[in-house]
Symmetry: C2
Subunit: 319 residues, 2 copies
């Protein structure tokens, strides 16, 4: 029977201390969710920053020793690396340990990780839908997940107690938790995140390659809309390469629909069908209102001014 005042997790191991991993470490510390944090990263430079920032009790590149005493291990590596990491740590995991992740793609991560986990270790995949365009241990902050959604995709017959603890952990970080199948997750994120990133990366690339318009003109006059795409297109290249390679089918399916609609729009422009354009441009306003109403965005007009980071809308739970 654990002490009622004891933290939710005794030893928390975080593998990969980038924007997300370091934000989890900061939040777990600030909100008293773990007694001890072990930071695992293969990059010596990252480990050095983790020690300098005091993000964990232990910082090591040795994954097997790092996870040996962990009650909860969270993989915060690019989804393409999840399988190799699971294979390396699998044998060292203690019975009763829970393994989770933060990958933006779920079906391929489940397929890559599950086979490497021993009997008696529960796997509860998770995806916190939050982030910024910055990367690395210095980019994280404890309130990143506050008021944001975290999607759990527990496999059939998953350990319900393990699932409940992972849910409690994310709620402790201020997130709102929802569960769905890995396949549905991958479809939802393909349209709400993956395809938007793909077309943002694409238009910035197109603009960079023009001859008739100089790069300096593109930069100067970016306030007309292009600016917002460049922010999204500044996201971590390795993370996003892996997202597109591992969620290929859903991304190509959603991209196909995007292209069909864009072709119809181009046709309306070519033939001067103003009513079709006006109808779409009016319809799209409703979704925006919904997003603002849901608190996933502020109604504040955005015109590229300074944006100080505000306090979380949600108070951290008492430890």
């Amino acid at each position: 029977m654990p002490d009622a005042d004891a933290p939710l997790i005794d030893t928390l191991a975080i593998v990969g201390l980038g924007l997300i991993g370091s934000s989890i470490a900061r939040g777990a510390r600030q909100y008293g969710l773990a007694r001890r944090i072990v930071a695992i990263d293969r990059d010596p430079g990252v480990l050095e920053r983790v020690r300098a920032l005091g993000l964990a009790e232990t910082a090591t590149a040795e994954i097997a020793t790092g996870v040996a005493e962990a009650d909860l291990v969270i993989l915060c590596v690019p989804v393409g690396a999840a399988g190799a990491v699971a294979e390396a740590m699998g044998p060292a995991l203690k019975p009763g340990a829970i393994v989770s992740d933060v990958g933006s793609v779920k079906a391929s991560v489940v397929a890559a990780v599950a086979p490497h986990l021993p009997e008696g270790v529960a796997f509860v995949p998770a995806h916190p839908v939050a982030g910024t365009e910055y990367s690395g241990p210095d980019a994280g902050f404890s309130t990143l997940f506050s008021g944001r959604w975290c999607i759990l995709t527990p496999p059939e017959g998953a350990d319900s107690e393990a699932t409940a603890r992972v849910q409690a952990f994310w709620e402790g970080l201020g997130a709102i938790v929802e569960s769905m199948t890995p396949e549905h997750h991958d479809l939802v994120l393909a349209i709400t995140s993956h395809v938007p990133h793909l077309i943002a990366y694409n238009i910035v690339g197109t603009a960079a390659d023009l001859e008739a318009v100089t790069q300096s003109e593109v930069i100067k006059f970016s306030a007309g809309g292009f600016r917002d795409f460049t922010r999204i297109a500044a996201s971590d290249p390795t993370m996003w390469r892996d997202v597109f390679l591992t969620n290929k089918d859903a991304v190509l399916e959603m991209l196909g629909r995007f292209n069909e609609d864009l072709a119809a729009l181009a046709r309306a422009i070519r033939w001067g069908d103003g009513d079709a354009l006006h109808e779409l441009f009016t319809r799209t306003r409703a979704i925006r209102k919904g997003i603002v109403a849901m608190g996933q965005e502020t109604a504040e007009a955005d015109f590229g001014r300074a944006r100080p980071v505000a306090a979380p809308e949600k108070a951290p739970p008492a430890a």
Copy 2:
């Protein structure tokens, strides 16, 4: 010989008091750029707000009487309406008056407006590259143009004194002025503003039409990137319909290049060419750095938190 302390413009007439027109009125007032402001709008509701907000000395729906004494007339109507407005006011303009506009498209506006202007009236087309996703007289603010670019497209053999006054007016509002041909302007804005808006409107429409993913899921999980597109897709439908109809050729040309690049990207995903994806995703970061360095955007991480409107980076000039 005008009094040295006299404002730059004696009587300023603004036709169309939306986001841009009302911001010009507020800025001209705050920075002492005009002795008298005449607000002209055909919408009685807008005129009522103009009077309530005290944006002008005179507010009228009568365009001919409204422009009769104007030294500078600025058309702030959707580009599709510029020709009709010019036709209605042309005969009433006084000799020596200057006509300008704020349209996001220039070649078609020049073609539509110029023929209706009498001898002795100078036409200096302008486009302030600034805005928010909001519309109407209540959405404007005096610092909207501060530190933003304003593009002038003076026709061949334009009155250089008139051009200089329009430049001084925009600099008085805090803008940085650059001149180019209408045709080049339309090409530059097609890639930096028009096509970005088109694909933002398009993906929001695609997301709204899915069966496999509900609208509520799209809204909930929008923080993954989609959210930023909905902001752009909340812009004024009539203004944007007109932009696409009047800048058709440049938009379709840039959209064609966007589509070619997107097809290559889709192929790289289908065939698992991670290197091609990583190369593009790395290249796009440079343009972002340039935009932040140019002060057209803040480096502050954007994760959908409150963004108070900051003070202009540039102090208003003394009147």
